[in-house]
C-alpha cells in the first residue's frame, strides 16, 4: 500500500513537473522567436552575386558590384580551378574615395575568399567588391567560363 501511495505521489509530482516544463518551453520559444527577429533586423547581411552565376570572365576585365558603395563583409569567387595560373581569379575592394585594396589572386581554391592580414574576412565599408580573371601573359581574347563573383550587402 505504501508502495502504491508512493507511486501515486511520484506520478503527481511528475505531471506537475511536466506542466511546468511545458510552460518554460513555450515561454522560451516565444523569447527565441522575438530575439531572432530582433537579431535579423540588426544583421541584414545578404549574398549579392555581381558576376555570374555562370559567367565567362574575360582576361583582365574588372567586374564590380553592387551599384552603390556600402558595407561589404566578404568578397569571394567560385570557378573551375586548375593546376596553373590559367584559372586564376583576383579579388579586391573599390573604396568610395577612388582607392582600391591590392588584388588577391588564386588559381587553386574554390571558393576563394579575400582575407585580411589576420586571415579573417577582408571587410570594407563603404566599398564595392571587384573580381577579374588575370594571369601573366594573358590576352584580351582569353576567358574563363563558369565564374561566379559574390559579395555581401550589409554587415552581420
Amino acid at each position: 500500500m505504501a508502495h502504491v501511495d508512493l507511486g501515486q505521489l511520484t506520478v503527481v509530482l511528475q505531471e506537475s513537473y511536466d506542466r511546468s516544463m511545458k510552460r518554460y518551453v513555450v515561454v522560451g520559444l516565444v523569447f527565441a522567436i522575438l530575439l531572432g527577429s530582433g537579431g535579423s533586423a540588426a544583421a541584414s547581411l545578404s549574398v549579392y552575386t555581381y558576376f555570374g552565376p555562370s559567367g565567362e570572365a574575360v582576361w583582365n576585365v574588372i567586374h564590380e558590384g553592387p551599384g552603390t558603395f556600402g558595407p561589404r563583409y566578404w568578397n569571394r569567387v567560385y570557378r573551375p580551378t586548375g593546376p596553373n595560373p590559367l584559372n586564376q581569379m583576383c579579388l579586391r575592394y573599390h573604396y568610395s574615395d577612388g582607392s582600391y585594396t591590392p588584388w588577391q589572386c588564386d588559381y587553386q581554391t574554390n571558393p576563394f575568399y579575400a582575407k585580411n592580414a589576420s586571415g579573417g574576412y577582408l571587410t570594407a565599408n563603404p566599398a564595392k567588391a571587384q573580381c577579374k580573371y588575370y594571369f601573366d601573359g594573358g590576352l584580351p581574347s582569353e576567358g574563363l567560363a563558369n565564374v561566379t563573383c559574390q559579395t555581401t550587402v550589409g554587415l552581420p
Binding site: P80, N84, P102, T109, A117, D136
Partner: protein
C-alpha cells in the same frame, strides 16, 4: 591542357599522355583549362593535422571564423600552421574538410581545395597591405604545402630567396618594394624540383 573556343567546337584529342582540345567560337574568346593530376585527398598529405595541439596551433578568432564558414570544413581539426612571419607577423591556418580536402585562411586570401597539384603547394598572392593600395606595399604570398615538399624558394627579380616553410605552410613577403616573384621553386624530399608560376595582378596595376 585544354583550349576551348565558344561556338563551333572542334576538338583535337591527342593519344598518350597529352590531350588537347581546341574549339573555335563566334566571339573569338578562348577559354583555357588544365586538368589536374591526381595526388589524392589533400588532408592526407598534411601531417600537421595529426600533430599534437599546442598554444601555437590554436587558430585565432578572425581566421577561425572565416574557416568555419567554408563548405564541409571540420573546424574542430583546424590548426594554425605557421605564424609570426614578416612585418605584420603573418600566419596561415587550415582545416580538413569532410571529403578529405583542405580549407585555408591566410593574409592574402583563403579557400578550399580537394587535392594538391603536382607542384605540392596551394597558395594565393597579394600585397602586405589589406587597406587601400600604397606605393610602399610589398608582395606577399602565402599557402600550404604537402608533406613531400622540403623547401620553397621564391624566384624573383632580385634573385632566389628562401621562403619560410613550417608545418605544411609557408609565407613569403618580398624584402623590398619592387621585388616580385616570377615563380615558387619547390624542392621535394627526394631532391627533385618543380616550379609554380606566380602571377600577381598588382605587379602591373598602377596605384590610383
Amino acid at each position: 591542357m585544354t583550349l576551348r573556343v565558344r561556338g563551333l567546337t572542334a576538338i583535337l584529342a591527342c593519344a598518350g599522355l597529352v590531350c588537347g582540345a581546341v574549339a573555335v567560337a563566334a566571339s573569338g574568346v578562348i577559354q583555357r583549362r588544365d586538368g589536374p593530376p591526381s595526388r589524392g585527398p589533400a588532408a592526407r598529405q598534411m601531417r600537421a593535422f595529426a600533430a599534437p595541439r599546442s598554444a601555437a596551433t590554436a587558430v585565432p578568432d578572425p581566421a577561425r571564423g572565416g574557416l568555419a564558414q567554408m563548405p564541409g570544413v571540420q573546424i574542430e581539426h583546424a590548426r594554425q600552421l605557421i605564424s609570426g612571419i614578416g612585418t605584420q607577423g603573418y600566419a596561415v591556418s587550415a582545416a580538413p574538410t569532410s571529403n578529405g580536402g583542405v580549407c585555408t585562411a591566410g593574409p592574402v586570401g583563403g579557400g578550399c581545395f580537394p587535392e594538391f597539384d603536382s607542384n605540392g603547394i596551394a597558395f594565393s598572392t597579394g600585397m602586405d597591405n589589406d587597406g587601400p593600395a600604397s606605393p610602399t606595399d610589398r608582395e606577399l604570398i602565402a599557402g600550404v604545402a604537402s608533406d613531400d615538399v622540403r623547401r620553397i624558394d621564391a624566384v624573383t627579380n632580385a634573385g632566389k630567396l628562401a621562403v619560410p616553410l613550417r608545418n605544411n605552410a609557408f609565407i613569403y613577403e618580398a624584402p623590398a618594394v619592387g621585388v616580385w616573384a616570377d615563380a615558387l621553386e619547390v624542392t621535394f624530399v627526394d631532391g627533385s624540383k618543380t616550379r609554380a608560376v606566380v602571377a600577381n595582378a598588382n605587379r602591373v596595376e598602377p596605384i590610383p
